[in-house]
């Protein structure tokens, strides 16, 4: 009973938050339009957090996702400005994300540097590269093709006035791909095995190094995708614009981990974490709550959820 309560505490918290806002904002909160807005607002964080879950399954994590996102946006924008077509700029930016992820993976898996230090280093490298490539400037206006900026404003219209944003659809697709990869493939089982006990995984004959390398590459690819979505939404690219994604993504995964049987991350649980963060932002803004109070609240909720979960686990 206690165990179930601990595992589902975060989910109950999300439902509580939704109920609270539904009562406080009866006219506006639970409307299709607002919920679709929320889904679009969280889409960039969602993609970052979903793919962050892949490395966190192994007990690693990636601090460089924010600067990878910034760099991807900058690379695409610079190439657009140089006359590249949209698909080519996007492909190059995604490739940069994979290369960055491979660098992280190589440092962690083959050189043997702790993920915290390795990705702290690459965070600075990617951020510096973004500044260097862009001359520190924001790239906007005519340099950003309408076809690229239009993506964030497009969507699938279901009925009159109800349009599912393309960004939300992209996030759901990433969710499904990560879900199937982690939960329903041998590859995913192996990543969980590494997270459970890396030595046992090695003894069982898994190629731990290659698995970690590939997992970091996937996280880098996701970060680059989130960076492109961000650049499309603001129709511009700035060398620091992805910076806020990293801490929120890690917070979302941690929130989700409180729902794991052994405290391990699952991507559907990460979704709950992302929803908590996004809905708090949306609802508290509508309730005129000070933005700094909002930050304190969000931090408090993350700490409280994780504390409750580890307290519950300690008592069995």
């Amino acid at each position: 009973m206690l165990k179930h309560l601990r595992q589902s505490g975060t989910l109950i918290g999300l439902l509580g938050i939704v109920l609270f806002f539904a009562l406080q904002l009866p006219d506006t909160f639970l409307t299709a339009r607002n919920l679709l807005n929320v889904s679009q607002q969280i889409s960039m964080l969602a993609v970052t957090a979903f793919t962050m879950t892949i490395v966190m399954v192994m007990g690693d994590f990636d601090l460089s996702v924010g600067s990878t996102a910034s760099l991807a946006g900058i690379v695409a924008a610079v190439l657009f400005a140089a006359g590249w077509p949209v698909w080519a700029g996007v492909a190059a930016a995604l490739a940069i994300g994979v290369v960055g992820g491979l660098l992280n993976g190589a440092l962690v898996a083959y050189v043997g540097i702790l993920p915290f230090i390795a990705t702290l280093g690459t965070l600075t490298i990617f951020s510096g590269t973004a500044f260097l490539v862009s001359d520190g400037k924001t790239i906007f206006g005519r340099d950003i093709p309408p076809g690229f900026a239009g993506f964030a404003r497009s969507g699938v219209t279901l009925t009159e006035g109800v349009t599912v944003p393309a960004m939300s659809i992209a996030a759901v697709l990433v969710l499904l791909v990560v879900y199937v990869t982690l939960e329903h493939t041998i590859y995913g089982r192996r990543l969980y095995a590494i997270g459970g006990n890396v030595h046992a995984a090695e003894l069982a004959g898994l190629n731990v190094r290659r698995l970690r390398l590939s997992a970091f590459a996937l996280t880098g690819l996701g970060a680059a995708m989130a960076g492109l979505m961000y650049a499309s939404r603001v129709a511009s690219a700035n060398p620091t614009q992805g910076a806020g994604l990293m801490l929120d993504a890690i917070a979302a995964v941690f929130l989700g981990m409180t729902m794991g049987r052994q405290g391990e991350p699952h991507v559907m649980a990460t979704l709950v974490g992302v929803l908590i963060l996004g809905i708090l932002d949306n609802g508290l803004t509508q309730m005129n709550v000070d933005s700094y109070v909002r930050e304190i609240l969000i931090g408090g909720i993350v700490v409280a959820a994780v504390a409750m979960s580890s307290y519950g686990r300690a008592r069995g």
């Binding site: 506006t28 807005n37 607002q41 924001t138 906007f140 620091t240 803004t285």
Partner: protein, 303 residues
């Protein structure tokens, strides 16, 4: 009697709630910057007088979050939105507000068709004032060195005005029009460029003035003049923006004599005024509303 008092109290309470019905969201990624804080201060003072509910939202540097918060404010059906961010980057949010019929006012944001108006300082006027100050101080004659930056539109318009003013004095000769490298903040490279010009013009009096489109090159030029030991020649240096370092140099009474200060608090107040007009349903014809700036000299440089 008792009933009347009760009725009056109820009426007051009722009117109180209806009068404070207007809700305004002020959204910016830059609240941590001193200038932005001053705008918000000026805005809130006016809003408090009018009895508005103001929700100041700081997205801590996150521009996409500004779009999200604009969407939330539209969902919340606020009466007006004020932004302090490049409108081109948040066009998606501005379109949502426009579709909902909610006016958005720019507070030093930039001009955009989706904004009702933008409140800012007049860069043309600021440059005119410092260049005329310089021309008058050197008696309308002599060599002038210009520091410009045409790649950045808000600074480019300053250079245009100074060009026109100096060209209008037949005895003023522009010795050089320099674009400093701004990677290091603009002071060091401006100093190096100015040292080269001082070396190329060794006769005392050959350089009458230095006009800089912003403060950093003026500070660099001042350092070069002092390092070359030529501060006694009466070279007049002017900047724009009146940052703290520039104010200090101007107050010291050396060659750096003048700069222009923007009145951020007044900009906030003017944005509140434009918000009031927009909420009253008035069509604001001015796409840009300029707030007066102040010439800073040794007489008023103390911050």
């Amino acid at each position: 009697m008792k009933l009347t008092i009760l009725a009056t109290a109820a009426a007051i309470a009722w009117s109180g709630t209806t009068l404070s019905a207007e809700t305004v969201a002020v959204i910016t990624p830059y609240l941590a910057q001193p200038g932005t804080q001053a705008y918000v201060e000026g805005f809130q003072a006016k809003a408090a007088e009018a009895g508005w509910t103001v929700n100041v939202i700081d997205t801590a540097g996150d521009v996409a979050a500004v779009i999200s918060r604009i969407e939330d404010a539209v969902t919340q059906k606020v009466d007006a939105i004020v932004i302090n961010v490049d409108p081109a980057q948040v066009a998606a949010g501005l379109q949502t507000a426009k579709d909902a019929g909610i006016p958005v006012i720019g507070m030093d944001a930039g001009t955009d068709p989706l904004l009702v108006t933008n409140v800012t300082s007049n860069g043309y006027a600021m440059a005119t004032e410092t260049s005329v100050y310089l021309a008058n101080r050197i008696g309308g004659k002599g060599g002038v060195v210009m520091f410009v930056f045409d790649a950045f539109p808000p600074v480019q318009i300053r250079g245009v005005m100074a060009d026109a003013v100096f060209a209008n004095y037949p005895d003023i000769k522009v010795i050089d029009r320099i674009t400093p490298d701004v990677q290091d903040g603009g002071i060091a490279d401006s100093r190096a460029k100015m040292e080269a010009i001082l070396a190329a013009n060794p006769e005392p009096g050959s350089i009458a003035g230095v006009w800089a489109a912003w403060d950093q090159p003026a500070l660099g030029a001042l350092q070069a003049i002092e390092a070359a030991g030529r501060q006694g020649e009466g070279i007049v240096v002017t900047g724009i923006d009146a940052n703290p370092q520039a104010r200090e140099a101007i107050a010291a009474g050396g060659n750096f004599e003048a700069s222009m200060a923007q009145d951020f608090v007044a900009m906030g107040a003017a944005a509140a005024d434009a918000t009031r007009r927009a909420m009253a349903g008035e069509t604001i014809k001015e796409k840009v509303i300029y707030v007066p700036t102040v010439l800073i000299t040794a007489a008023n440089a103390a911050p």
